[in-house]
């Protein structure tokens, strides 16, 4: 038998089917009823990984060197919780100030005004270019450099003055140091985000008579958020860990608190495990928040995915055209 008889026979037996097929199994060929092949290698890999992980976790939990009972004892202890609160509030406050300062600095760096560009450029250059630890120590010791802080007209009379030692406490030094450092990084992240928004968007808003600030707030920044949020999440997590640096200026953060305990009890590893578990817990909660925020700012796109799945093929064609 050659192909030729089939070619002639097929239109007769099954007029709607493709040629060169005899058509008896056409119903079975409908891809809607297809089954996935069993991914043998994948299953095997999963089993192996699960086995090793369980074994490792079981080993860790049974290992007396980790001192899990000690971990449990101290996990909710006053000192640890106080340290946790210090870490969290330092991170949150510094992050808020950092974002609030970073936004105008980012806008300044993109400004057509050389003064704004120069000042914001210099800020980023200095605070990104020097170690955070050094910045913290300098802020803490500000009174050595400037014994008095005063508000005055340049080369003119002084309006108000404070003793540096009264203003700079470990807390204010920590917040100023962390926040300014954060502002420098956030400024660059925000600038990247603003640059990622198509130029036509700002132009359109301006063509409709929107003032620049409103156009930024309503049109550009909401679109820039998609690019800004993921690295900001990163920054926040780095910030939570960077707060451990403030122990050098006598702030009792989470790490400092567990250290103060193990300096007394010599249970170094269990106390470090307390800190590790808390850090992991906080960053996990943050990741959940981050993905919620990301989903919110992806709404113009996100909807499209849902839409394509639900709607009829006619609409899918339209969405394809829309991306041109």
């Amino acid at each position: 038998m050659t192909d030729a008889p089939h070619a002639i026979a097929s239109p007769v037996t099954a007029p709607t089917a493709a040629p060169h097929r005899n058509g008896s199994d056409d119903a079975l060929r409908d891809v809607a009823g297809a089954h996935l092949p069993i991914p043998k290698t994948k299953v095997l890999l999963w089993l192996v990984v699960l086995l090793f992980s369980c074994d490792f976790l079981f080993g860790v939990s049974q290992n007396p060197n980790f001192g899990w009972p000690v971990v449990a004892d101290y996990f909710f202890s006053r000192t640890v919780l106080d340290g946790l609160i210090v870490t969290m509030s330092l991170a949150v406050v510094s992050m808020i100030i950092g974002v609030a300062l970073g936004l105008p600095i980012a806008i300044g760096r993109m400004s057509s005004d050389p003064l704004a560009r120069g000042l914001s450029g210099a800020f980023v250059w200095f605070f990104r270019g020097t170690p955070l630890l050094v910045q913290l120590i300098l802020w803490y010791n500000l009174s050595i450099l400037f014994p008095q802080i005063s508000l005055s007209i340049p080369f003119g009379p002084t309006l108000a003055a404070w003793n540096s030692n009264d203003v700079i406490t470990p807390l204010t030094a920590a917040i100023i140091g962390l926040a300014l450092n954060e502002a420098a990084y956030m400024a660059e992240i925000i600038r990247g985000g603003l640059l990622s928004v198509e130029r036509g968007q700002m132009e359109t808003a301006e063509a409709f008579g929107m003032k620049r600030m409103r156009a930024l707030r309503r049109i550009v920044i909401p679109q820039a958020m998609r690019t800004i949020v993921p690295p900001t999440g990163n920054q926040f997590i780095s910030m939570i860990k960077a707060t451990s640096l403030v122990s050098v200026i006598a702030m009792a953060d989470l790490l400092y608190s567990v250290q103060s305990i193990y300096n007394r009890t010599f249970e170094v590893i269990p106390m470090l495990m307390v800190a590790v578990l808390w850090y992991l817990f906080i960053t996990s909660v943050l990741s959940v928040f981050q993905s919620m925020i990301e989903r919110y700012y992806a709404r113009g796109d996100q909807q499209r995915v849902v839409f394509e799945k639900v709607e009829t093929p006619a609409v899918t064609v339209e969405t394809k055209e829309a991306t041109q």
Binding site: T204, A205, A207, F208, Q303, E318
Partner: protein, 263 residues
């Protein structure tokens, strides 16, 4: 219609461009454009690519600054004010106020992708013109119905076809009740079968007495809907007149050459 064909003698023009020059560095793109547009007039601007049509539209709402000459909308000079015999540049917010009188429709639609159709349309009325939200929504809903997209009020731009997006962009431009509507090749980014729906929306607007400046390559649209056709080439207005004069009986060799391509 006869009044419109001879605009400048009847009423004060809505738009008056006088000897407009514009350069990008050493590249002079507009070399002295003179153009007057009367209220309710529909002007189609034709011309080869690179002849400065988009640049001219962008100069009208001051997305670009001009180097010489002046442009007036309703007798008010765009970007400058004459005070005690001195010409002073306006501040950014004064320019914004002038722009708010114009509506613009872009080749690439430029809808705000993070906003729904309704939000796109009410953004400028609420944010720029201080219209109350309820009123803005009412007007927007009407306009969106007029461009035939009532069922897409809460859709996002990416869920719409190009033609639908451009019709939303037209509704958005209408929502600010513009004195003059500027179109920059509104159908050039569309698949051929979607061009018709946008052109028919624009034809309806032309009939309603809106003042429109339309840069287009749609000769058919220019012939039917425009009161006047302006042909630009090399930064000059080479020829203008009624659609019949310019399209059926062009005088200038460059107009003839350009139109020859569409036969």
């Amino acid at each position: 219609m006869t009044a419109l064909a001879n605009p400048s003698t009847q009423t004060q023009p809505i738009l008056r461009a006088c000897n407009v020059h514009k350069s990008y560095g050493n590249n002079e793109v507009l070399k002295g454009i003179d153009l007057e547009i009367a209220p309710s007039e529909v002007v189609a601007i034709l011309g080869p690519s690179g002849s400065g049509k988009s640049t001219f539209l962008r100069c009208i709402n001051r997305l670009e600054e001009i180097n010489k000459g002046f442009i007036e909308v309703e007798g008010e000079q765009i970007g400058y004010t004459l005070r005690n015999g001195k010409l002073l540049a306006l501040t950014n917010s004064q320019v914004a106020a002038q722009r708010s009188k114009m509506g613009m429709v872009f080749q690439a639609f430029n809808l705000y992708p993070h906003m729904t159709v309704l939000q796109n349309v009410i953004e400028a009325p609420i944010g720029v013109h201080g219209v109350k939200r309820a009123e803005a929504v009412r007007v927007a809903t009407e306009l969106i119905a007029k461009v035939g997209l009532s069922d897409k009020l809460n859709a996002y731009p990416r869920q719409l076809s190009g033609g639908q997006q451009q019709r939303v962009a037209i509704a958005r431009a209408l929502a600010v009740q513009p004195k003059i509507l500027l179109f920059d090749e509104p159908t050039s980014a569309l698949d051929p079968e979607l061009v018709g729906e946008v052109l028919s929306t624009m034809r309806d607007l032309a009939k309603q007495g809106l003042t429109m400046v339309v840069v287009t390559h749609e000769i058919g649209f220019a012939r039917e809907a425009a009161d006047r056709v302006v042909f630009m080439d090399g930064g000059h207005v080479v020829e203008q007149g009624t659609p019949d004069q310019v399209l059926s009986n062009p005088q200038h060799p460059r107009t003839k050459a350009f139109l020859g391509r569409f036969l």
